[in-house]
Symmetry: C2
Subunit: 329 residues, 2 copies
DNA sequence: AGGCAGGATTGGATCGTTCAAGTTTCTGGA
DNA sequence: TCCAGAAACTTGAACGATCCAATCCTGCCT
């Protein structure tokens, strides 16, 4: 068994001091070209890799980013997180960071986990997926000057932190516009109860687009918790009450329910969902697609910006969704 | 800003030496009850947490487990990995380990990543999801005595390493038996091309169950790559060729395709999928459900067994799937 | 009272890296 | 040729935990 290769091994091999090797790695410009080459050759020849634990001990930085993996709630939207995490891992990797997973069942436990991760692993930053009004997590992190980014904008105007989000209103607006262009006028909306930032945003895109087109949206929308059964129930209600020719939904779950409601009653009704989940792709549901890979990449960008220098809060990023056209609209 | 709490701070506060604090943490039984209590009180009062980097430097162990997050291929089966990862994170957490993510586009790059992760982060172990015949990854890890577990059994009989798997044959057998009990006799199977361990296993469960029931399975099965379109195509073919009254599929994607094929032709045909993905739940598809949380937990069990003592290779674990009954069968 | 065994406690060394300060080498101008 | 000043490189110390070996108690026996 070959002995462990440390910075001292490399130094001896290249006939320089440890510090010079360290400089080649961390500040190449201050080392003479010729020396640098010799050190780099030694590094390659020996297969040396800087020990992260030792580096961390001195610098206090772990090059680790924490992300939460949630229990897939209804299952359908779970894959959104999945794709986001994949993008995050990929981009973080390229920037020299690694992603560490954690779970927590509620906000309180999640905050306790923050303390644990920061204390024992000295995590460099957190990525929070999903935010709500008065989120205690962002408050806690901000109070302690822990770098973090949220995927999802802060719905309380007051706290300003770096965030990346997808413009939900633009997504539903795009969906609504497409339906208008196809000649629809009675375009309904099935969304979430008033008060959730994301839900209100998505409804606004639909409402404003109808207004702009001179269509009165009154009575054309319904609210419920997320779920297939809920979507089906509300769609039946809408069919009876206002007989819409199309419907835009705040999620693929709701849209799937709506599809089941129209089947057998009036299959000509157009349906558009939100999130472009695998389920949508599977059943041919047209859906608003979020650029998750891009979102993840921008999260990493913001974080590395904060971590590697910039002291000022970077500007937030609002990405535009696109419409994945299939045969339901 | 309060200064950093180290083991020395705790020692001073509890009026003992650093070593005693360390003993309370790592070998509580050798410390007198009264002293231990005093130290624990100090730890809680100060909110002390052992610095992982420093510990790792001395012990050479990171308490980090690596898991790969794949780009969700067709999207449908992606959530299987998602749920597995969640379980892994939860169980690892309870055992004092954390999960680090990595990605790689092919085997060669994945192996390069192993070297990197081992060299810089001194990872304790790897969890590999999915294995194939002659997998170069397991070979590489085994050659270097790196602890690892695979979720998916080794299909080459030769190499023996700890693994956890779900009995696919038992799953399809259960599905087939249910269909037989319901009176079906012409039970078809849509699976993957011969040569993939998982696919052959799932087909065997169907075939053997039919044999045992005295039904000849000849001509009742079809093979293709995974995908909804492929499933639909083969189901149409089966309907024309042998007019089955039920079909068992190797995946939910294939099953979904099959469902689309029978719709309008003969909706009375029963369909059973595999993996119990969100899509199955959404469309009411009966599907074989893998105990993913349990599988993840057993993976962690095996790893901690190897890491915390046991030098002998632990015995593999084969879990039994269950049937998630919905209205397609 | 003295001695002894055994466990509990202590100080010093160590892991591999980077920081801070020191020393040598090089460069160019008088 | 000499020297100032910069550039290049070297040395010692520190990060915070654990391991090791030495010392200190404590209770018990003679």
């Amino acid at each position: 068994m070959a002995e462990k290769v440390t910075i001292a091994t490399v130094a001896r091999h290249a006939r320089v001091s440890r510090q010079t090797v360290s400089n080649v790695l961390n500040a190449p410009h201050i080392v003479r070209q010729e020396t640098r080459q010799r050190v780099e050759d030694a590094i390659n020849a020996l297969g040396y890799r800087a020990n992260q634990a030792a580096r961390q001990m001195r610098t206090g930085r772990s090059r680790l980013i924490a992300a939460r993996i949630e229990p897939t709630r209804d299952g359908i939207n779970g894959s959104v997180l999945d794709r986001f995490l994949h993008g995050l891992t990929e981009t973080a990797d390229a920037a020299g960071y690694r992603v560490l997973l954690y779970t927590a069942t509620d906000d309180e436990r999640e905050i306790a986990t923050y303390g644990d991760l920061l204390g024992t692993y000295e995590l460099d930053a957190f990525v929070l997926v999903g935010t709500k009004y008065g989120d205690p997590r962002t408050q806690w992190l901000a109070d302690r000057d822990v770098p973090f980014v949220t995927f999802g904008r802060p719905w309380d105007a007051l706290d300003a932190h770096p965030w990346v989000d997808v413009d939900g209103a633009a997504g539903t607006a795009q969906a609504t516009r497409r339906l208008l262009d196809a000649g629809h006028r009675r375009i309904a909306f099935i969304g979430w109860p008033v008060g959730s930032g994301v839900g209100d945003d998505r409804r606004a895109g639909w409402r404003d687009t109808l207004h702009a087109a001179g269509v009165d949206p009154t009575g054309l929308h319904r609210e419920t918790e997320d779920g297939i059964a809920e979507g089906e129930r509300l769609m039946r209600d809408l069919l009876v009450a206002v007989a819409p020719s199309a419907v835009v939904c705040a999620s693929d779950s709701l849209a799937l329910g709506a599809l089941q409601a129209i089947r057998g009653v009036d299959p000509s009704v157009s349906v558009i969902g939100f999130d472009d989940t695998p389920v949508a792709a599977a059943v041919g549901l047209t859906s608003v697609s979020q650029p998750l890979g891009e979102a993840a990449a921008r999260c990493v960008d913001l974080l590395t910006g904060v971590l590697d220098g910039d002291h000022e809060t970077p500007s937030p990023v609002l990405l535009q969704p696109s419409l994945a056209l299939r045969h339901t609209a």
